[in-house]
């Protein structure tokens, strides 16, 4: 590295020594970026003098310079270049700086700031970080940013994504606030699967088209978020959309196609024993039916055996493609067409995107269209305007149910005996039009074809999002800025369980629509002054008013009169309901940033939020809270003479406070009316949660200290941050004894502590004219601890596994919050063990069920990402490997595969019985044999511990290989740019320890992390991207 560095200096000196004359000449030239786009406003300066100019609209410049001089070209966001003065027309190309010293990032309230001035850690991702497309925009963050944990539940491509920045700080919401062009957007989650199943309704952020995004900044610290107040208590993700640029009109087309194949770990399923119970082969249809989906039958011997449908078929393993035969290969097609350009005063970008996704599950798909207009205008020398409007249309057919049985077509795919071909369940209905079931006693084991083609679950979203900003520069120092943003979502949904469904012979349907969203209005007065060479101040104060609202109506009907005609009017009974809610937050905020000699930066900010949700007559606690924050950044490399190999060194520290509230209407008990019976209306207490009149906002206090140090002309860099984030007065919906009549109570009591380290190591091991290699390694560790819940409660249940719930098969496991433990631990029944750790067996040969205890942590404390990108001439190769470590998972899929005998682990002892390894109660080795089915069923029903796995993994997350066609070729085609890339996602799991399911499986993007059951299989995808500019 040092060698290379010296070589460069040597070459440079050699080059400059060629020019010895000192006469003034006129130099002309033009500056472009790597793609040949002209750069406007580049500073062109003669080295060692104050004379210079800036490039004009076409990137052109002209200036007088000494013939032996050196010209410096510098531009924010690009690596500065020095060139000797030339008589020729100078064609200068500036490269975008990936490790930028004077990098500008978009921070809170849309303020652009130099990164070096910040006292806290931020990470910005540019558009090329989203080259490998994922169905949800936020999934694309996985592995790219230190300190954030991205979870994509296995609920299908249209599902939601969970993003947690610097650890879970609350028992309630832990997701960040999303900001687009300075204004918050609605990231409402339209339903999450829970204990009793359901579909993942997706989230707000996934509606955005990644091709419209210029950059995404992750504001990790509380200081970063302090200006957004309560809603950014968990950090903020600030998205900036692409804008038009002055100059030539540019038309750009981006197309991508990817093909996803399901990953099924066939080798974890047993393939030796067939359908049946207790080692017996079914001998009658009734026996076949009563055996349900059990693989406890005889050894597969090819004999002719009767199956559930009365047909005799060979008793053999139908093969490894049994599950694959049902699922499709998913595919995604994305196209975005944009036109951008503009004059000196007005710039625009208009884009249209079309996204289609066909999921693995047959007849399950998504269509999304985005249209957006961006307008920037200089209305007068003192008035600038920015406007952005986006319309999004989304249609989804058949989001899939997961976790529970009913309506979840995946269940049978995970549990089907190896002797039954899934295709025998097709067509999905019997002669009477009823769902063809494997067993009419096990009505909840849905026929997957019936789910695909007879049930229906569809939703439609139309969304309009817009921001408008107007700035008036009163004079050189003072300015006024007003902004407004609105996000309105109109959503309809409908679900149909048709007549003839196994568990509901008469059928039912539900339909509803909702109109909701949020609006913000903000005004601020700002002040900028460079008092002198040394001191400067930037300050502002403002006000913001927010309202979120939702109005919805829904109706349901049951018992279809005419089959196969699914409207509410065709049901025997219908009922309906409506919901309205409004939530307001008013705020005042201000910030002052003082800098001294570009070396010391001090920031003070404060915000006060008033919550309507915490206001009610008779309430004695405050409905508002003040959040102060402060930060100090010190550029040591400016202050001291450091050894030359240190090119930059910054130290930073920050302290801040933010907070949060609850949703509206949680302070008082309310009542509702239900069905009338014989003319008498029923009425009831409306909630199973005890409300709390005196709720106050929770607070989250964070401290962080960090350093950013670069060596060898920025070839190696290390950015390290240590943080502490303490939440207090967290609003806990604590589970209470149902003996109280209620299941939960809202209390301001929680204390949660998160401490962590984030490291980002960047390096450019090789950089030559034709080849460069950039590597970056990010790593983070977050240690969370529940300090306090309530005075009476030291633990509570966040979620319960579907296994063992309500008396069903399988062993119950729970996600708990428990004082002294990390956030979200997994608990369940353990093995009873003696002092040597040996499992104790009872006299009948079954392992003894121990107490309910901690079996793991549901959230990984360690996350890491390793990115390598190589550029060789016009080729660009990027590879991202990421991993998470230290978390565990209770797998209901594995538990039920033990219960039903489909798991490979149930093979030992099939013929001779199982003698469990361990001791009897007297300490002697266990020697009692138990029939395999009884043994494994007992294990599956009683010992949760047996199904808790280390969920650590390493994945080859993204690979892309791109080729930019040389201008000689693209121009012949009439194009200004042509880039073709091959992309891949989730190509390989390099390390994992969980059988059957993907290590990232889960059913929820809520706080129930660490539980998994019967989701869709994970996928591996391959595809290509095409980018064309005219």
């Amino acid at each position: 590295m040092i060698y290379l560095h010296r070589t460069f200096i040597f070459l440079f000196l050699l080059f400059s020594s060629l020019f010895v004359e000192a006469q003034q000449i006129t130099v002309t030239g033009s500056v472009t970026d790597e793609h040949g786009e002209p750069l406007v406003g580049v500073t062109v300066q003669i080295k060692g003098s104050t004379s210079g100019t800036v490039t004009g609209a076409d990137g052109d410049f002209s200036l007088a310079a000494p013939a032996d001089g050196v010209i410096q070209f510098s531009y924010i966001g690009f690596t500065s270049v020095e060139k000797p003065v030339s008589r020729e027309f100078m064609q200068v190309m500036l490269k975008e700086d990936l490790i930028m010293m004077d990098e500008v990032v978009v921070t809170a309230l849309g303020m652009r700031k130099e990164k070096k001035a910040l006292a806290y850690s931020v990470t910005e991702l540019k558009e090329d970080a989203f080259l490998v497309k994922s169905p949800g925009l936020a999934d694309g963050l996985a592995g790219k940013v230190a300190g954030i944990n991205v979870v994509k539940p296995t609920t299908g491509a249209m599902g939601s994504t969970r993003i947690v920045i610097r650890g879970n700080g609350s028992f309630g919401n832990n997701q960040p606030l999303y900001i687009v062009d300075g204004m918050p957007i609605d990231n409402s989650n339209y339903g999450q699967p829970g204990l009793w199943g359901g579909v993942d309704g997706g989230d707000g952020i996934s509606s955005l088209n990644s091709d419209d995004i210029e950059s995404m900044t992750v504001l990790k610290g509380g200081t970063a978020a302090a200006l957004y107040g309560s809603r950014a208590a968990n950090g903020a993700i600030v998205i900036t959309t692409k804008k038009g640029k002055k100059g030539r009109t540019s038309v750009e087309l981006t197309s991508s196609y990817t093909l996803d194949t399901p990953i099924v770990s066939y080798s974890d399923f047993q393939q030796e024993y067939g359908h049946g119970l207790s080692g017996t082969v079914p001998t009658s249809v009734e026996m076949a039916k009563l055996s349900g989906p059990s693989s406890w039958g005889g050894r597969l011997d090819g004999s002719s055996v009767i199956q559930f449908d009365g047909v005799e078929r060979p008793y053999t393993n139908v093969g490894k493609n049994n599950i694959r035969n049902f699922y499709n290969n998913a595919w995604a097609l994305n196209n975005t067409l944009s036109i951008s350009g503009g004059s000196e005063n007005i710039q625009y970008r208009v884009a249209f995107g079309d996204q289609r996704y066909n999921d693995l599950y047959p007849n399950s798909k998504l269509e999304r269209n985005n249209g957006s207009i961006n307008l920037s205008a200089q209305l007068s020398p003192r008035i600038t305007m920015q406007a952005h409007m986006m319309y999004m249309r989304e249609r989804v057919l058949n989001r899939q149910n997961v976790n529970d049985y009913s309506s979840n077509g995946n269940v049978l795919l995970w549990t089907l005996p190896p002797s039954i071909d899934v295709r025998t369940l097709s067509p999905a209905v019997d002669a009477n039009g009823n769902e063809l079931l494997l067993s009419d006693i096990y009505v909840y084991f849905a026929n997957p074809y019936f789910v695909a083609y007879h049930r229906r679950q569809q939703d439609a979203k139309d969304r309009l999002f817009g921001t408008f900003s107007l700035q008036y520069d009163i004079n050189d120092q003072w300015y006024l800025r007003g902004r407004a943003g609105g996000d309105m979502i109109y959503r309809r949904h409908e679900s149909v369980t048709p007549k003839g469904t196994g568990y509901d012979k008469d059928g039912y349907m539900g339909a509803g629509s909702s109109f909701g969203g949020e609006m913000n209005i903000e005004g601020l007065l700002g002040f900028n002054n460079n008092f002198n060479e040394e001191w400067s101040l930037h300050a502002f104060a403002g006000w913001n008013s927010m309202i979120t609202w939702n109005e919805s109506v829904s109706a349901s009907g049951s018992r279809f009169i005419q089959p196969d005609f699914h409207v509410l009017g065709n049901t025997q009974t219908t009922s309906g309901g409506q919901w309205r809610s409004e939530n307001y937050i008013n705020s005042l905020f201000g910030q002052a940033e003082l800098s001294y000699r570009n070396m010391l930066y001090l920031t003070l900010s404060g915000r006060n939020d008033w919550f309507s949700a915490l206001s009610l007559k008779g309430k004695t606690t405050p409905n508002n809270i003040f959040y102060p924050s402060t930060g100090l950044g010190f550029i040591a490399s400016e202050a001291f003479n450091l050894p030359s190999f240190i090119s930059f060194w910054k130290l930073r520290g920050a302290w801040s406070q933010s907070g949060g509230a609850v949703g509206p209407y949680n302070l008082a008990l309310t009542y509702g009316y239900g069905e009338s019976i014989n003319g008498y209306p029923t009425g009831h207490v409306n909630s199973s949660t005890i409300p709390n009149l005196n709720l106050k906002p929770l607070t989250s206090i964070s401290y962080e200290a960090g350093t950013d140090i670069r060596f060898f002309d920025n070839r190696i860099g290390l950015d390290a941050t240590y943080y502490i984030r303490n939440t207090r007065d967290d609003i806990v919906s604590a589970q209470i004894s149902s003996g109280s009549g209620y299941n939960n109570v809202l209390i301001n009591a929680g204390k949660i502590e998160n401490k962590g380290v984030e490291l980002l190591l960047t390096g450019t091991p090789v950089r030559t004219k034709t080849f460069s290699w950039d590597a970056s390694l990010n790593f983070s560790y977050n240690k969370s601890k529940i300090v306090h819940i309530t005075d009476n409660v030291n633990s509570f249940i966040v979620a319960t596994s579907r296994t063992g719930a309500a008396g069903d098969e399988g062993s119950p496991a729970f996600i708990y919050q428990e004082v002294g433990e990390p956030y979200g631990i997994i608990k369940g029944y353990s093995f009873q063990r003696d002092e040597n750790g040996e499992i104790i067996f009872d006299r009948n040969g079954y392992p003894r069920k121990g107490e309910i205890k901690k079996l793991g942590v549901g959230v990984h404390p360690y996350t890491a990402g390793f990115n390598n990108s190589f550029t060789y001439r016009n080729f660009h190769l990027n590879m991202l490997i990421d991993g998470k470590f230290g978390g565990s998972m209770f797998s209901g899929t594995n538990d039920m595969a033990y219960f039903l005998g489909t798991h490979k682990g149930t093979l030992p002892g099939r013929e001779e019985g199982v003698v469990g390894k361990g001791v009897k109660s007297d300490g002697s080795p266990n020697d009692k044999s138990v029939p395999a089915m009884e043994y494994y069923m007992y294990l599956a029903n009683n010992i949760s511990e047996a199904f808790v796995y280390d969920a650590s993994f390493v994945k080859l997350r993204e690979v892309s290989l791109g080729y930019s066609f040389p201008e000689t070729i693209s121009s012949k085609l009439g194009l200004s740019q042509l880039t073709l890339s091959i992309v891949g996602r989730n190509l390989a799991t390099l390390y994992d320890k969980i059988p059957m399911v993907d290590p990232e499986s889960g059913y929820s993007s809520g706080n129930a992390q660490g539980l998994e059951q019967w989701g869709l299989p994970a996928t591996r995808s391959w595809g290509f991207n095409l980018n064309v500019k005219f």
């Binding site: 009734e286 009974t573 003040f626 009425g683 003996g739 309500a806």
Partner: protein, 502 residues
């Protein structure tokens, strides 16, 4: 920071004058108050619900006392005495639905003289709900239960069953004493439509039931409660029956048993069958109720064709237990034309039960009267009562006479054999009120049942004596539940509760 803060607040108070947040946080969707009537209706109506009807009542209670049987081992776990998490569900559901709302009713009526009758009925119904829970579990939260919002007690203590029974008796007595014809009527009463006399008779009948229950736990109290209840007037005729009439107006108002059978296709799937033990008894005694209760899956309810399924088998072992077994379709299930009708009533207490309890009390010398007469009244009423299940349920007078002419009670030679006749009749009469069949069997030991021995069950050979507490209580309310376990004995199916002594 202080200056900063003061400045902010000064500025903001000006600006906030315009917005009235207190008004904006009033929930527009739900009422902030409620009339007591609908609360009573709710509490009475949800005393039986679909999930509990299927899994707790049929799946456990009726299976354990061998009224029903199943080859299935998951949802119908009571057939084989298997311990599942379902055992705790009755506890969690009833507290959080019926009890919470009847307690809310009591809170809203207790200080209002004009609502005294509604309040009185609330007290009686609350006691009905609590006795069902305590009879299943033993010690439960009682004195601190169901009122978490008002008392802010989120972790109620468990009262000893002994004290619960004393409390229940006192509350019912209080309720009866408050009932007053001169005061405004009962609101929202779907059971007796506001008939104060019927409520008094129901209250006394409930006292009779509870009094008898304490026979072994507190014999002195039993005598005084039973005597007083009968003196004050218990149910007198079939029409005094305590039941909720369901209707087909909406799915939610349908009979929960019929509804779950229909939607889950349980008649055809064969998950619930009439037990061989129960069927044998009906056939042996030529009981005309057989055609009301039982039918083959094809609807045939001819008594001669009915066949009961033995308890304690699964689909494999049934071949051993029933040589020649062919198909579940050959075995009787609940009769869809009567019991499973969607507008069938849910029956909570009957005049027949009252007469049977009286007969027993007479035999035991606690009250005076003619035990044989009470038995006959009971049988007659139980048979007449089948008419509530529609035309198919009507039992002709001649059939009743024929049955009574066998004189099963009169011919029984000893006290014990007479108690057996009473217990068996109780068992038949309370069919489809499994909670009560199970409680009475535990109390009296009649009818004599032979426990099954299913090899996969850890409880083989022992009919459970109680339900186990919900797992959640151990994590949420550990101290209180542990205290109850220490007092009562292991939280196991075999532990006997206070009134259930050997």
């Amino acid at each position: 920071m202080k200056l900063y803060r003061t400045l902010f607040i000064a500025l903001s108070s000006l600006f906030l004058l315009s917005c009235d947040f207190e008004e904006k946080n009033i929930n527009p969707n739900n009422s902030s108050t409620i009339e007591p009537g609908p609360l009573l209706t709710y509490s009475q109506f949800y005393t039986s619900n679909e999930g509990l009807a299927k899994r707790t009542q049929i799946g456990y209670c009726m299976m354990m006392v061998q009224q029903t049987a199943s080859l299935e081992r998951d949802e119908m776990a009571g057939d084989k005495y298997l311990e599942t998490e379902m055992l705790g569900v009755f506890f969690t559901e009833v507290f959080a639905s019926s009890i919470k709302n009847v307690q809310e009713l009591i809170n809203r009526t207790q200080d209002d003289e004009s609502l005294v009758n509604t309040y009185a009925v609330g007290l009686i119904w609350k006691s009905y709900l609590f006795h069902r829970i305590t009879d299943l579990y033993g010690d439960i939260p009682y004195s601190e239960a169901g009122n978490g919002y008002v008392t802010q007690n989120f972790y109620p203590g468990y009262d000893p069953q002994k004290d619960i029974y004393t409390g229940l008796v006192a509350e019912i007595e209080k309720g009866i004493s408050l009932l007053d014809h001169q005061k405004p009527g009962i609101q929202g009463d779907i059971i007796y439509q506001g008939d104060i006399d019927k409520w008094k008779r129901f209250g006394n009948s409930l006292l009779l039931r509870l009094g008898m229950r304490m026979e072994k736990g507190n014999p002195d109290l039993t005598r005084s409660v039973v005597t007083k209840a009968v003196q004050n007037g218990v149910m007198q005729e079939t029409g005094d029956i305590c039941m909720v009439q369901h209707s087909t107006a909406k799915p939610a108002t349908e009979n929960p048993v019929g509804s779950v059978f229909k939607s889950h296709g349980l008649v055809n799937s064969g998950a619930v069958k009439i037990s061989r033990t129960f069927m044998n008894h009906l056939q042996k005694t030529n009981d005309p109720r057989i055609r009301v209760y039982c039918a083959l899956p094809d609807g045939n309810n001819d008594p001669a064709d009915q066949k009961g399924l033995p308890n304690g088998y699964d689909i494999l072992s049934i071949y051993e237990g029933e040589p020649g077994y062919t198909s579940l379709a050959d075995y009787s299930t609940l009769n869809p034309a009567t019991l499973l009708q969607l507008d069938a009533p849910a029956i909570h207490m009957t005049y027949a039960e009252v007469e049977l309890l009286k007969a027993e009390a007479i035999l035991k010398g606690w009250i005076s009267g003619n035990a044989g007469e009470s038995y006959q009244k009971a049988v007659r009423s139980s048979m007449e009562q089948q008419a509530y299940y529609g035309a198919q349920g009507i039992i002709e007078e001649t059939e009743i006479e024929e049955y009574l002419n066998q004189d099963l009670f009169g011919k029984a030679p000893t006290l014990e054999s007479r108690l057996n006749v009473l217990g068996s009749e109780f068992w038949v009469a309370t069919f489809l009120n499994g909670y009560e069949s199970y409680a009475n069997w535990r109390r009296t030991g009649y009818p004599v049942l032979f426990p099954v021995s299913f090899s996969g069950s850890p409880n083989q050979g022992r009919i459970p004596r109680r339900f186990t507490y919900p797992t959640e209580e151990y994590s949420v309310n550990p101290q209180n539940v542990q205290e109850a376990v220490e007092r009562q004995g292991a939280d196991a199916l075999s532990t006997r509760i206070w009134w259930d002594k050997e």
